[in-house]
Amino acid sequence: MIEFQLDTAGGVATYLQLVQQVHQALRLGLLEPGDQLPTAQQVVAKLAINPNTVLKAYRDLEREGLVRPRPGQGTFVIASLSHTDPATQARLLSSMTSWLRSAHSAGLGPDDIEAIYRTAFRNYFAEGVA
């Protein structure tokens, strides 16, 4: 079961943060169809937020078709956001790790690596949106 975190300083509404964290978990495969989301009671007992906020987030997710409540049992994931299968994800993760290893042995520090990544990312997606 996933655990939610709250960032009070970011200016993002609480319920949106919950929705985004569910999206992220779905994308990363941490949540799969059939998994149960924490109950409102469990979430607020940890985060000390209004239960209605949790319910609102779950209602939004339900509207997006990602989850469905089962009365008396809880809220369950029914769809996935993962665009790739686990094998592909594993392969990409491993090639990324090799690249990092070679960048590191070439003498690049974390900030340099991040700068290269961000440049490549920006260039790629700027070109890609045509």
Partner: protein, 298 residues
């Protein structure tokens, strides 16, 4: 739907001074209501009026459709925790629970004992030797175990350290999630309440300055910043709550139900903190005899 708390022209006078004046509210059920205002604004007065520890000088107050003086059944529907969470110093935790059982017809002993165990409180320990946080938790258990329909808490976390404060709110929200009780809690710090409230009442200088559903309030207030201009140049449907100017720039906080269409503005949403501070400042600058601004948004 019965209102959780409804007042009409409610006032309480001590000698020449009005601790609360001309207070009109209609707070729906099922909300966690934050009552915010500086010390001495009248928050405790309002809450004590709600539970019948004070009688109004003028106006009326109803909680869950009943008057505070209606008798024991009305008292049984409200769980109250007073400021500084008074407890009987010489009485143990267990004896406090027995008091609850004897004095409340709907007392749930199992719930009380379960919560005490969860909190790790020693039933034999005298209430006087508990820490502030533990006393607040005990007071909350006493209020909860009588199975009320509404919880009224007067500055419950004011004197608690951050951890105790967080634990108290965790317990409170868990109870709201589990039992669906309405909650009214007061504080002089909005930071205490921001996480948990979905309804807000701002009380300054004995008057209600603002009240309404939090999401509706946040959706109808904006920060506008742009080139220097006078407030009178703003459209009539935009009510100015706060303004500040430099020689070239003006920043306003406005309330409006209409969209902001003037392209000269940079529009930003307000936070709950901004909202409360803005109305508190407005109250301070208003003349003492001016009728207070009152917004009830559903």
């Amino acid at each position: 739907m019965t209102a959780a708390l409804e007042t009409s022209g409610l006032g309480k006078q001590y000698g020449q001074k009005w601790a609360l004046h001309d207070c009109t509210l209609a707070i729906p059920e099922g909300k966690v209501v934050g009552l915010v205002g500086p010390n001495g604004a009248g928050k405790s007065t309002l809450l004590n009026l709600a539970v019948g520890l004070l009688a109004p000088t003028s106006g009326t107050i109803e909680v869950l459709g009943g008057r505070p003086s209606d008798g024991p059944s009305q008292l049984g529907r409200i769980g109250f925790v007073a400021q500084d969470t008074p407890t009987y110093e010489g009485m143990s935790v267990a004896k406090h629970l027995r008091m609850g059982a004897w004095l409340n017809p709907h007392w749930d002993s199992k719930l009380a004992e379960r919560r005490i165990k969860q909190l790790g409180l020693d039933p034999r320990q005298k209430a006087g030797s508990l820490s502030g946080g533990q006393r607040a938790q005990l007071a909350l258990v006493l209020a909860l175990a009588k199975k009320p329909e509404i919880l009224i808490l007067d500055e419950p976390v004011a004197s608690l350290d951050p951890l105790a404060r967080r634990e108290f709110l965790q317990t409170l929200m868990e109870v709201v999630a589990e039992h669906g009780v309405s909650v009214v809690l007061s504080s002089h710090l909005i930071a205490d309440l921001e996480r948990v409230c979905d309804y807000l009442v701002v009380l300054v200088a004995s008057h209600v300055q603002l009240s309404g559903d939090v999401s509706a309030l946040l959706a109808s207030h904006y920060h506008l910043s742009g080139p220097r201009r006078d407030r009178s140049t703003l459209p009539a449907n935009q009510e100015v709550i706060e303004e500040s100017h430099t020689d070239k720039q003006s920043v306003f906080m406005v309330r409006t139900d209409n969209p902001i269409i003037d392209p000269a503005w940079i529009v930003k949403p307000v936070t709950l903190d901004d909202l409360v501070l803005g109305y508190m400042r407005q109250a301070r600058e208003a003349e003492p005899h001016r009728r207070p601004d009152l917004g009830v948004l559903r």
